[in-house]
Amino acid sequence: MELEAVLLARLQFAFTIGFHIIFPAFTIGLASFLAVLEGLWLWTKKPHFRNLYLFWVKIFALSFGMGVVSGVVMSYQFGTNWSVFSAQVGSVIGPLLAYEVLTAFFLEASFLGVMLFGWKRVGPGLHFFATCMVAIGTLFSAFWILAANSWMQTPQGFEVAEDGTFVATSFMEVVFNPSLPSRFAHMVVAAYLTTAMVVAGAAAFGLLRRRANGENRTSLRMAVLMMAIVAPLQLVIGHESGVVAHEHQPAKVAAMEGWWQTRSGQPTILFAIPDEAGERNHAEVAIPRIGSWVVAGDMNAEVKGLDAFAPADRPPVFITFWAFRVMVGLGLAMIALGLWGAVLWVLRKLDGANWYHRALVLAGPSGFVAVLAGWIAAEVGRQPYVVYGVLRTVDAVSPVAVGSIAASLLTFLIVYAIVFSAGALYILRLIERGPDSDEPEPVSRQPPGSPLAAAVEER
């Protein structure tokens, strides 16, 4: 297959999945947040929980809609752009995707209707049940898709038949492959953190605008609590994920860390400009020996560098290296923000801390950036394989004309730019207005996010 076609197909997949993942990363966390809010409202009857629910469910509806439509695209991308991959591994990961549809997508889609339109049609208990079903659906979905992705990173439980297709020998081994537990935990926690950052940013924005109502104060505390507990936890889970990668995908770890030579006492590199042609780093700033300690638990352990792999088997180093640093850097910033918030809370200064609020507004989108960077590090680090060590990306692409891929990629870029800008605009408008102390109950005619709908008529 021509290299251009492979590159364009990869760009198209990267772009469509990168665009898609933004929404699940947000809605997985937001669905659980909404379930907690509605549960607290039913339990305590404090109106600000209800108001927060009615406010955030509007943003959920917008984000979920964009997640659904960009997700439908993904279920066809495998066949349109990666048909050889589909034909060869369909018998192994196909069932995982089928289970995702059967256990998660229908559950989410059906109960979303009740969640958005049933506020007055069903009792509060049943409505809460619907919210919980949507939240559980998002987690089921994450489990299955990450099982499929993890299998592509650390494949096991299969054999290759005579005709080149993969056949599972044990679906337990396929699903519960070595990188699934840490990857699933890492992604779900990332989604919770992403949501916490957005909620904290929105609450802080409201407080900076002198709207110190119960809603903003409550949601700020919920978000800070989440950050303070979950951000450090994420460091531990991420570390575990790295240890698994070190064991099964050493070339990826070497690229992430910017290690060119195999040696004992690998450093942790803080800054460098990897030079793939020269096989070395420029302007390197590093802490000696810590790298070996992090991945192997021993400062003097010998750890493989990229020189242990033939150039044709190495992932692109620059992207992997820097994507990984962006993710880790933002993760550390979140830990700091969580600690800062916890200290202010203990000192009873959380509501008036203007500088902290400004920092939170700035950090509002940090979760999205970290998730995208993490995915780029994981998936570019998997190259040049689509199924690690077994099937190369160049051998997996569809027999489709370069012109078709280029034209469709361009159209995806334009359409997603329009849809994303509009969606982001509407979400930011809602956040700017913030939750009211008397959030109106939705009239069931419309998605609950339409206070303006009655007033603004199209011509």
């Binding site: 349109t80 995707l97 059967l102 209707g113 569809s398 159209t411 849809v419 603004v456």
Partner: protein
């Protein structure tokens, strides 16, 4: 299992999923296709309210169709998708526009609102056209060698596929009109009845034309029906003749049912009409999963994958169908003139 080939069971299951998709998403796409014919913004709000709680679940059947084809028949999926690459991409982009328009229409201000109204109508229309092109391209056959597509980027574009696309747009408009008869009242209800009558007439013509054209796509189809341009093989045709007869009767019932007292009947009749067409197509193409190139057994995933999924489907599909039915029951009421459920 039960003396049946697993691959054949899965072919039937996926065919059923695709049919459920057509019957359900067909009406909400149809409502979008009818959007430009509404009198004003208030009517458009009512039309959208009539489908808003259920469209997402309806579209999930499309994901099951695509995902199920990938999982159960990876070789068919891999051969077919590159062949209909451009119409599939068109369908996906169209579905994006109309999908987000449900929410965006309510959040946008004046100009944006007009844009998303147009996006909803245009997206629904384009999705129906694209699906028709995929169907047409599929029925007329795909050039395959050694399990891979070897044709050109525009092989799917023929007078036949354009005809199928036109017919599908009309068919979805029929489902949409019938759904609006069921869900609306007042002036919009009267309008929906008129749309239903017009659409049932057009559908009769379109279905007849597509049926005749399908006979010509391959000699094997001609032989199965016993009907060609010059000759009718009566003993063969008589066994299949009930299908066109039932279809014609359903069209007449639809025409008359538009005035009827039970407002759900037209929608059920329209689904019946689609079912007859679907069965007719299955008769024409059996036993191929990609016409004249691959059978389910050729394209199937490994047996252990098929049986693992079958157990899941046997347990989960009844659950899915029950809560889907529950949601439909919950939102069974007519949409008020203010667009609210009462």
């Amino acid at each position: 299992m039960f003396g049946l080939e697993l691959s054949m069971i899965w072919a039937v299951l996926i065919a059923v999923a695709v049919f459920i998709y057509v019957a359900l998403d067909g009406f909400d796409l149809g409502v979008g296709i009818l959007f430009p014919f509404a009198k004003d913004a208030r009517e458009r709000d009512q039309m959208q309210a009539a489908i808003a709680p259920v469209w997402d679940g309806n579209e999930t059947w499309l994901v099951l169709g695509g995902g199920g084809l990938f999982a159960a028949f990876p070789k068919a999926y891999a051969a077919l998708m590159p062949a209909v690459y451009l119409p599939i991409i068109l369908m996906l982009l169209a579905l994006i526009f109309r999908g987000v328009a449900f929410e965006f229409r309510h959040h946008a201000r004046e100009r944006g609102r007009r844009f998303w109204t147009a996006a909803f109508a245009g997206g629904s229309f384009a999705a129906a056209v694209a699906q028709g092109l995929v169907l047409g391209g599929f029925v007329q056959g795909v050039r395959i060698e050694n399990g891979a597509f070897v044709g050109g980027a525009f092989d799917w574009l023929t007078p036949f596929s354009l005809m199928v696309a036109t017919a599908l747009v009309i068919g979805y408009a029929l489902l949409g009109a019938a759904w609006l008869v069921f869900k609306t009242q007042g002036a919009l209800f009267d309008r929906a009845r008129a749309w239903l009558k017009q659409a049932s007439l057009l559908v009769m013509l379109a279905m007849g034309a597509v049926s005749l054209a399908t006979l010509g796509v391959d000699p094997r189809v001609t032989a199965r029906w016993g009907v060609s341009m010059t000759n009718v093989d009566w003993p063969v045709f008589v066994r299949l003749a009930p299908l066109p007869v039932i279809a014609a009767m359903l069209c007449v019932f639809l025409w008359r049912g538009a005035e009827g007292r039970n407002h759900l009947t037209p929608y059920l009749l329209a689904v019946g009409l689609f079912l007859v067409g679907y069965v007719g197509l299955a008769v024409s193409l059996f036993p191929y999963i990609i016409p004249f190139a691959m059978t389910p057994a050729d394209a199937a995933a490994a047996d252990n994958a098929l049986s693992l999924m079958l157990w899941g489907a046997l347990v989960l599909l009844p659950v899915i169908l029950s809560y889907t039915a529950y949601v439909y029951w919950l939102f069974r009421a007519k949409v008020g003139s203010d667009g609210a459920y009462h």
